[in-house]
Symmetry: C2
Subunit: 221 residues, 2 copies
């Protein structure tokens, strides 16, 4: 399903070279919930960005369903990002001029759905994350944890095969986090959705089928 | 030191009226570490914004050192915000065009210090939060937890009397969070700094001298 092979990634700042990931390898062979754990700065967000092809490794391969992401056509990459992938950003990245509902509906635009169907599904997913009472609010009119939940709803609403989530419970109290984890578990079991979740949250690691541990850009577990 | 009396705050959205805080009261009588706990959306950030006077209650009073914030002079309010108060924002709010070091040095601008002294103190505080190796990086070149730590350093570097922190450990792994809590405890004990920390983190609640619990904008504990 997903294979990362000997991936290395560095950033340049002028003459400085910062190695963010070194020779990282792992594979996911079944629709699982996989946690990526590690200290702040250990490379989790960098890894997630490579999985979604928001960025490109210096060396090594990222393969989805056996196909190297470096060699799929632009059309196939669009298809992957628009339909097969949901991404929850560490800083949410909601569109500030759209309401919560509109942000989530937008994620359904690539699908062959009527306007009424998009609205209905977006409302249902927002209710699943406890945000049914703030549909018309823009992100600036929401609390931090509310924005995070709208970002989660946006990633899940299209029922993608892969969901990549960057610290999705960081701003949530334990009851709300438990509801989100329940939702993740359910989608994984009923829809065979694969989840890759960067996290510091022990409850996420507990839910996960496997935990990949990073330290200073290297896999240590 | 700090008194909140019967504070009520609502937001308007068109014809909709959202009550964020209802008749909230508490007081801090000694330089303590106070945790504000409660579910996502319960009013924590709203309360913290009122304490710093970034926003104004509809009714009720916020008093610092016995003085009603509604009636202090603009000059005294500036003095309060620039010298007596440090604020850690839930979304960090670092200046994107400045480096980590420059962001922290800027917080010392109101003080009578030489350029060399500002630099020295900023470096020392960034090292205290484990960010001594990323001084020249801009926020966009830092991980989420690294940005959060720079925001914490910025709030603390001027040794303010009051520190208001909105979920300061949300993006930190347990080891890094423990270091930050150690720093908070130390400043509280050695410099008599009062901390008001909105949090979902049980470790923060454990460290706190008292915990104020919110639910739906009301104090329940
Ligand atoms: N654009 C950039 N330029 C230079 N260095 C960068 C850049 N982006 C990230 N880094 C560095 O790469 C390393 C890995 O960052 P990454 O964001 O992947 O960490 P992380 O594990 O997600 O951390 P956190 O838990 O704090 O979110 C960090 O040390 C960071 O400073
Ligand atoms: N500008 C606004 N307009 C309308 N409603 C708002 C606005 N800002 C916040 N709210 C609402 O006020 C309530 C309290 O928000 P607040 O940000 O204080 O919550 P919080 O306790 O900090 O939550 P979290 O833990 O998720 O950060 C929320 O229900 C939120 O939707
Ligand atoms: Mg990260
Ligand atoms: Mg908040």
């Amino acid at each position: 399903i997903l294979a990362v092979e000997s991936v290395t990634k560095h950033y340049r700042r002028g003459s400085e070279r910062i190695v963010a990931l070194t020779d990282l390898s792992f594979s996911i062979d079944a629709p699982e919930v996989v946690a990526i754990a590690g200290p702040s700065g250990s490379g989790k967000s960098t890894l997630l960005n490579l999985l979604a092809r928001f960025d490109v490794p210096d060396s090594g391969e990222v393969r989805l369903d056996g196909q190297d992401l470096a060699s799929i056509s632009p059309a196939a990459l669009d298809e992957f990002r628009n339909r097969k992938l949901g991404f929850v950003f560490q800083q949410f990245n909601l569109l500030p001029v759209l309401s919560a509902l509109e942000n989530v509906e937008l994620a359904l635009a690539p699908q062959a759905l009527s306007r009424a169907q998009r609205r209905e599904r977006a409302i249902a997913m927002l209710e699943r994350v406890g945000m049914g009472y703030r549909l018309a609010h823009k992100p600036g009119e929401l609390s931090g944890g509310q924005q995070q939940r709208v970002a989660i709803a946006r990633a899940l609403v299209g029922r993608p095969r892969f969901v990549i989530a960057d610290e999705p419970t960081g701003n949530l109290d334990s009851k709300t986090a438990a509801e989100i984890l329940q939702l993740i578990s359910e989608l994984n079991q009923t829809m065979q959705t694969t989840f890759v979740i960067a996290t510091h949250d022990p409850r996420v690691m507990q839910l996960a089928n496997s935990v990949i541990e990073l330290a200073d850009g290297q896999r240590i577990g």
